[in-house]
């Protein structure tokens, strides 16, 4: 299983990851139209700067995910390969997963009364946020590769 890893030491806070995610998650698939869509699409990765610290929150696909335990609808479950997958159909927007995710990686979509989170863009060869990250602060690899290469 491949995951998206974030290394703050390489990040310069350019927000390209958020922008790429918004473009991908928009209905129009257009960077420029996305901000005018209603509801405005939300990025599944969120960047934060406080003082001189940078951080991007994104679903870590935890081995023991708090969100899966907290989900009262069964919408959050593990896939066969171990990712945490979210079934939009079942979701009722109770925000239980939002309440427990220690990474703040579950995104409430208030208008749709659903949540969403990073789905690793399985339809892409490489997730757009990783492509957009020119400084390689985000990488898309298996946990083993990540451990080996740091």
């Amino acid at each position: 299983m491949q995951k998206i890893y974030y290394q703050a030491k390489h990040c310069d806070g350019c927000l390209a990851c958020e922008v790429a995610c918004i473009e991908k998650k928009s209905l129009t698939k257009s960077l420029f139209m996305a901000k005018m869509e209603q509801p405005v699409p939300k990025a599944r990765i969120s960047f934060e700067k406080f003082g001189n610290h940078y951080w991007a929150s994104i679903c870590q696909n935890c081995v023991e995910a708090m969100c899966v335990g907290a989900c009262m609808t069964g919408a959050m479950q593990y896939s066969e390969t171990g990712e945490v997958v979210h079934n939009l159909e079942q979701c009722v927007g109770c925000w239980m997963c939002v309440m427990v995710c220690p990474f703040g990686a579950v995104v409430p979509l208030e208008d749709a009364k659903k949540v969403s989170k990073c789905d690793l863009c399985k339809d892409e060869k490489t997730p757009p946020c990783v492509v957009a990250c020119t400084r390689k602060a985000l990488c898309y690899c298996t946990p083993e590769d990540y451990e080996n290469e740091g």
Partner: protein, 694 residues
């Protein structure tokens, strides 16, 4: 968007200018922008620098890179100095007399052997008003059929507009934008393509005109817009129709104008019936609330202007898009008013009538569409070709065009440079540059401006005006019909064309910025058309619907000519060519400055598409369409949408770039309604080209 800043290095190797106290005034003839120029000459009378003319009321001293590049291109190694004849594949110098004699002899031979239809001209760069008129007279005397800039540039725009308003040219001057409340720019990167005149749009924006840009790419023009609407390639028609539907349904149109001055409103309403906001949003990728906002803006901000560009004209479904947007302006009543109308660089002021007596007019025995020209050349139906332009670079399927020209019996090229097309010629004739020729230039402001000859004639170069007169003489035709100077040519044209009757050379010289047309004998110039409310259509009204009663027929881009039947699995992306200011014409490839600014031709790719292909910025990419493939270096940018490739046209093999023309990738496909060749939105595929290096 850091990738989008274009390099701005200029003149690294320029030598100091010689003092020139007597700057010549001229008008730029490159893009129909009509920018006023000041030309500095050296002691030999050669152009050493070109500046903007601060006294010209239209460009106010602003120009783009193209005219500046002239100082370099005109005297470079590619310029043709004297007539040449190809002997055993090599060009040998001959005299003008020898050349003309040979051409005349061949010309007469083919007329007799194979008929007038066996000789055609591809004459997109024939020269100024003097050369154009001589060419017209020559064609009338010989029955030569010519293909101008139309099919590769504006045929669809011209034809559709002519159907609607009865006149294909621009209905209002660009300078009117400062008086309009909203300017709708569709598929037009005028910041690059009308750079010298772009300050009008900026000025309008400062004065409160809302600038709305609809484009597939986030262009330089889009960057200054109040509202940029990114639209999926080739879907402009659907957007225009949804706007029409919304405006009609909500009674936001100018009802009195529609009743009094238009025909076919019912058919139009019916044709757009199925284009709901939601459907249009699905097709175009523009959120329905944005479409609605635009419709309301257009209705509430009046007067408004429309400026269409090649983005909706040089495409394979151009007819529907152009008609949708121009019908839209019509029903809003944005016609014939100050600050309203359609801006275009098409400045057709009509043609001179009865230049030669009927008895001497020869009609061509065959007529072919531009599309059919290829086959006619390939099948040997055409024997002789007269080139004034560069069809081997700027016509679609350039490889096929080149091969077709190679197969002809006799080819003449009247040209500035020994370019891709001249290389295929049997006779190459040196042409004058427009700075070396006096004449009239039309502009995007609907004015005619006079320019005197600025630079000294280069080497043995001759203008088209002289060439055709002399050729006629050698062919034994009546030469008295031909004017022998640009001034006389204009006088002749003026007196045979009602719409420019009042525009004398004298008057143009006296009036800063030139004279608006039409302008009748009694001297009243018309800044904009249709102010009287009468339209030159048969009915005298705006024709909102086409003759066949179907107002607009939307064709999906993948079902349009050139893409029809092409496998989407094999060719999943779309390819377009888009011009940049410094590489606007094929002539620009001979300038070092242009080269400094744009380096190599490149292909713009969205980062996600690049990732799919495994390409990083600067790496080589092979683009392939049904007609062939070529390699370009990648420029990764968010300014283009995903799955869309944009490159610059007009680079050739016989230039400092040695580049296969981008037009080689475009099949010979024409817009079924307007007749324009498509040089955008053609299905393509791409892959990384490894091991080639930079």
């Amino acid at each position: 968007m850091g990738f989008y800043v274009r390099p701005k290095s200029l003149g690294l190797n320029s030598k100091p200018l010689e003092p020139d106290d007597n700057l010549r005034t001229s008008i730029c003839c490159l893009c129909n922008g009509g920018c006023g120029l000041k030309v500095s000459l050296d002691h030999e009378g050669k152009v050493q620098a070109v500046f903007g003319d601060l006294d010209n009321p239209y460009n106010k001293g602003k120009i783009c890179a193209k005219p500046m590049e002239i100082a370099q291109t005109l005297y470079g190694p590619y310029r043709v100095e004297y007539p040449m004849k190809k002997v055993d594949g090599k060009f040998e110098r001959i005299t003008w007399d020898e050349a003309l004699k040979l051409i005349a002899q061949k010309y007469n031979h083919y007329i007799q052997e194979s008929g007038t239809g066996s000789i055609v001209g591809i004459t997109s760069k024939i020269g100024g008003s003097y050369s154009k008129l001589a060419h017209v007279i020559f064609s009338k005397l010989t029955g030569m059929v010519n293909y101008g800039t139309g099919p590769i540039c504006m045929e669809s725009e011209f034809n559709v507009r002519k159907e609607i308003f009865g006149n294909g040219s621009s209905s209002g001057p660009l300078s009117d934008v400062v008086k309009s409340k909203i300017l709708l720019i569709v598929g037009n990167n005028c910041a690059q393509t009308k750079a010298g005149q772009f300050h009008w749009i900026l000025e309008a924006k400062r004065q409160g005109t809302k600038i709305v840009v609809i484009d597939t790419r986030f262009t330089e023009t889009a960057q200054v817009a109040d509202r940029f609407i990114q639209i999926r390639p080739g879907t402009d028609g659907a957007l225009g129709m949804a706007l029409l539907k919304f405006i009609i349904e909500n009674d936001l149109y100018d009802q009195s104008f529609v009743t009094e001055h238009t025909n076919g409103f019912e058919q139009l309403a019916q044709a757009v019936e199925s284009f709901s906001l939601e459907r249009a949003a699905d097709i175009t990728g523009v959120p329905s609330n944005v479409i609605q906002e635009l419709a309301r803006d257009l209705a509430s901000r009046q007067p408004g202007m429309l400026f269409e560009g090649r983005g909706i004209v040089c495409v394979n479904n151009a007819g529907a898009s152009i008609r949708a947007f121009e019908d839209l302006m019509s029903i809003l009543g944005n016609v014939g008013k100050e600050g309203a109308g359609i801006i275009s660089h098409i400045n057709n002021y009509g043609s001179a009538k009865d230049l030669i007596p009927k008895k001497d007019v020869v009609k061509s025995d065959r007529k072919r569409s531009a599309e059919a020209l290829y086959q006619a050349m390939e099948e040997g139906e055409i024997k002789m070709l007269f080139i004034a332009g560069n069809p081997c670079v700027n016509w679609p399927d350039s490889r096929r065009m080149t091969k077709a020209i190679q197969g002809l019996d006799f080819v003449v090229s009247h040209t500035l440079f020994l370019d891709d097309s001249a290389m295929q010629a049997d006779i190459v004739l040196p042409a004058t540059h427009w700075l070396e020729e006096a004449g009239v230039q039309a502009s995007v402001h609907r004015v005619l401006q006079w320019k005197d000859q600025a630079a000294a004639t280069y080497a043995e170069a001759r203008s088209g005006g002289d060439l055709f007169r002399q050729l006629a003489k050698h062919m034994g035709l009546e030469t008295s019909y031909f004017p022998d100077s640009p001034q006389k040519a204009w006088e002749l044209e003026r007196t045979h064309n009602k719409s420019i009757e009042g525009i004398t050379v004298e008057r143009m010289r006296k009036t800063p910025g030139g004279v608006h047309f039409p302008c009748s004998e009694d001297g009243q110039e018309a800044e904009r058309l249709y102010e009287s409310g009468v339209f030159p259509t048969t009915s005298g009204k705006v024709e909102l619907a086409r003759a066949n009663d179907i107002a607009i027929e939307y064709i999906e881009v993948f079902d349009s000519p050139g893409n029809q039947g092409v496998s989407r699995e094999k060719y999943p992306y779309l390819l377009s060519t888009n011009k940049v200011a410094s590489h606007y014409h094929t002539i620009c490839q001979y300038s070092n400055w242009a080269r400094e600014m744009e380096k190599q031709p490149y292909v713009e790719i969205h980062p996600q598409t690049a990732a799919e292909l495994g390409v990083i910025d600067g790496e080589q990419v092979r683009l392939e369409t049904v007609t062939g493939s070529l390699v370009l270096s990648a420029r990764i940018t968010l300014s283009v949408p995903r799955g869309y490739f944009s490159t610059q046209p007009y680079f050739g093999l016989h230039s400092p770039y040695g580049q296969t023309p981008a037009n080689s990738l475009f099949p010979v496909a024409v817009d079924p309604v307007g007749g324009n060749f498509a040089n955008k939105n053609i299905m393509c595929t791409a892959k990384a080209e490894r091991g080639q290096g930079q």
